[in-house]
Structures are given as C-alpha cells and as structure tokens.
C-alpha cells in the first residue's frame, strides 16, 4: 500500500505529539498544545527528516511554526503534498 506524502506528514505529527488522529494535526501551531513545545518540536523535526529522507536547514526549523507552514517548508525539499 502506498501512502501519500500528506498522510506521512500527518503521521509524523500524530507520533510526535501522541495525537488521537491525524485530523487533529491540521490546526496545530507551535506552542498551541503542551506537546508541541521546544522538546516536541525537535522530535517532530527528527521524524520528518527520517520519514522523508531530508535534512532541514536551521532556518527552516525555526520557521516551522505550524502544520500549514511546515507544508510550505517541505515543498522546498521537493516533498509535494
């Protein structure tokens, strides 16, 4: 079974922040839930890098401020969603 990039992307949030389902991820912003703090942030970054086989620049890690912003950022790494 092939899973889409969007699904993979969502799953990273689910795993990093122990969400009940992927739909919950869509409205998330940095610091909007307890789990997405600076520790959670780095866990999410590591999951994204592993799952998409990319290496994010520090600037992009800093600018990764929400679920939506992250989609734009990943586009720069040729991850289309």
């Amino acid at each position: 079974m092939v899973i889409s990039n969007l699904e993979k992307y969502k799953n990273c949030f689910v795993e990093a922040f122990a969400l009940a389902d992927g739909a919950q991820a869509e409205s998330l912003k940095y610091q909007s839930i307890q789990e997405w703090d600076s520790v959670g942030h780095m866990a999410l970054m590591a999951l994204l890098e592993d799952n998409f086989g990319i290496l994010l620049d520090t600037d992009d890690i800093i600018d990764f401020a929400s679920y939506e912003a992250g989609k734009e950022i990943l586009r720069k790494y040729d991850v289309a969603m």
Partner: protein, 361 residues
C-alpha cells in the same frame, strides 16, 4: 517597538560602532518604555533611579538592574497566562535561583538569535551532534534549568543529536563509539558545559585510557570556569586536554546567562568574546558604576534586545571583565569584544556547569 525580525536578518557581526549605537539607542528606548509600562516592579526601580528617557544620549544611560533581583522578585512584563516556559537559573544547593518567564515571542527570539550567532562560527549546515550531558536534564518540560534551556537551544543546530552521559553522569562509551562510527569522516558538533566536559568526558576518557577520533569536531562550551579554576585548569589547559583525548582542535567557549538566554557571546579564534547585533556589553567601575574604558577591569553589564516578557534587557552581573576592543578584532567580526575575569568576591557560585553537584561519590 523596533522590528526584531529585521535585526535577526542582519549579519550578526557586521555592524560598526556607529551603526550599532544608533540601533541600540532606539531599541533600548523602546524596550525600557515597554517594560516600564508593563512591569510594576521595574517601573518602581527605574523611576526610583530618576531615569528620564528624554535625557538619554548614550547606551550607558539606560538603567541597569542587578541580576540578583531576578532571585528576589518574579519580574514579568506579560500576563501569567502567556508564559509558556519558566527558566530557572542555576543556584547551587542553598542558594536562591533566578526565575525567568518566557512567552512565545521571547522564546522564539532566543532560538533565532542563538542560531544566527552560532552559525557564524560553524556554518549553516546542521552537523551530527554529541551533547556532553544526560537526557535527564530535560525531564520537566515546563520548567527548565538554564542547563536544559542551553542544551535544547543548541540542539537545533545539530542532527542525530546524541546524549553521551547517562543519568548517573557516566560516559556511555557504546553510544559515543557507535555515533562516531556512523559519522566517520564527517564534521561533528559537540556541545556541553565546561565543567561537565572536564569532569565527565575528559576525566572519564583519561581514566579508561581511551582515545576518541573526534579530530573533525567543533566543540562549543560555556557555563563558567569557577570549578575548573579551583582545579587550576586554565582555558589553554582545557583545550590541550581535549586535543589529547580526542584530537579536538576547534573549541569555542561562550559567555551567557539564564537572564539573557539566546544572545550569547561567542569566543573567536583570537580568544575574544564577541557581542553580536543582538547584544552589547558595558564595563562599570564597581565603586560608582561609572563606565570603564577599554582595558580597565570592572563589573560586566549585559545588554540584550531579546527580552520582551521580562525586564531583562539591561542587567548588571556579578562578573568581572574588561573590554578588549571595539571593531578591531583580527578575526574580522565587528562590535565590542571583552574577556571575563571571574566573579566579584562574595557573590554566589552560579553558572550552568558549576552547579551540578555530584551525588554519587
């Protein structure tokens, strides 16, 4: 209020004296007015000092508050509901700790500033990273020690971030060696607090008679020399020792405190500590607080453009230091440079690396 992102987009060491002074006059004016309006304790202090914003001619005219005040009072310029993280400074057992309240904006600025400053030394690429500490420092996510905050901030600069001390502060040889195998031939970033590196990396390697291949490593360390001074370890001896046990050649010290996390002062290859576009330094005579000229020793006043959620933009520390120059470092970075000479007598022992008490003998 000045635009922080604009400042963050500048090259961190490219402003000369004139450009920097005009930027800081404006920005510190904004910050002082902002905190005066929002923090009652701060207002009472600056008003009590007779501060008059219309008479400011120089960056040194802004009122400073002593670092010790953050131990005695909860100083905050935002509503408690907006505080996302409280950083407590290292106070050793029996000593009071500072409490610094961070909102989202200030926390984000700290990360941004730190990354900008350090990238100027190590480049923009995230390197495989070893942290000479235990993961346990980050256990309580809502309330960090300054040590935890430092580790977390720096870990943004790395990848495959690996902690090499276990919860008992013993060096994890397996984790370290397999990390080095994974990244053989690559540049590696190491971060830790000075004392921890000495005590738990250097001494452990020495004791075990082991050598680690980290010739391509860049080490950044900070948090205070006091404990090492008591063992008579000089900065040069520290560097030599690390070269002996793991071939490290690039070792940079930094100076910073919990009250101004993020806008740290990095030591360059010339051994000078550098102010960046986010920070400045003044040296004051300890008797009358008058400004000292280059070369004269006095109390270090730290200035940072980052603090918005607490009035910590101008702080008088209990550290002694001297200016070593302005815009004239051979490394090419502009701005003031300085050296730290220790702590005024009778001040408390503090500093991230100095307050870890070994619990297991």
């Amino acid at each position: 209020m000045f635009d922080f992102d604009e400042i963050a987009s500048l090259k961190p060491f490219a402003l000369d004296r004139e450009a920097k002074e005009s930027l800081f006059l404006r920005a510190l004016g904004d910050l002082t007015a902002f905190h005066r309006q929002r923090c009652g304790d701060y207002r009472r202090i600056v008003d009590g000092l007779g501060f008059d914003a219309s008479r400011v001619r120089d960056v040194l005219d802004f009122p400073f508050i002593p670092a010790g005040l953050f131990k005695m009072r909860d100083l905050s310029s935002v509503d408690r509901s907006l505080v996302i993280k409280t950083v407590t400074s290292s106070g050793t057992t029996g000593q009071a700790a500072s409490r610094i309240f961070l909102d989202r904006n200030t926390a984000a600025s700290q990360t941004k500033a730190l990354v900008r400053i350090v990238s100027d030394f190590i480049g923009n690429k995230r390197l495989p990273m070893l942290i000479v500490d235990s993961r346990d420092v980050l256990k309580n996510r809502a309330s960090f020690s300054a040590r935890g905050a430092g580790i977390l901030g720096f870990s943004m600069l790395g990848r495959d971030v690996t902690y090499i001390l276990d919860e008992r502060m013993d060096l994890d040889f397996n984790a370290t060696e397999s990390f080095l195998e994974r990244h053989a031939g690559e540049d590696i970033l190491l971060f830790g607090f000075t004392f921890m590196i000495w005590e738990y990396l250097y001494k452990a390697l020495r004791r075990a008679g082991k050598w680690l291949p980290i010739e391509r490593g860049v080490m950044i360390h900070g948090g205070g020399w006091k404990k090492l001074q008591s063992e008579a370890v000089s900065p040069d001896a520290f560097k030599d020792a690390l070269r002996d046990v793991c071939g490290l050649r690039r070792v940079y010290n930094y100076y910073g405190t919990a009250e101004q996390t993020g806008s740290i002062f990095m030591e360059c290859c010339e051994g000078r500590l550098h102010c960046s576009v986010f920070s400045d330094i003044a040296i004051r005579d300890h008797r009358d607080f008058s400004p000292c000229q280059v070369g004269t020793s006095g109390l270090i006043e730290m200035i940072s453009l980052l603090p918005r959620s607490y009035p910590g933009h101008v702080i008088l520390t209990e550290d002694l230091g001297r200016l070593t120059g302005i815009d004239d470092c051979p490394c090419g970075r502009l701005g003031k440079t300085f050296s730290v000479e220790g702590r005024i007598p009778r001040a408390e022992t503090r500093g991230c690396s100095d307050t870890y008490e070994k619990r297991h003998a």
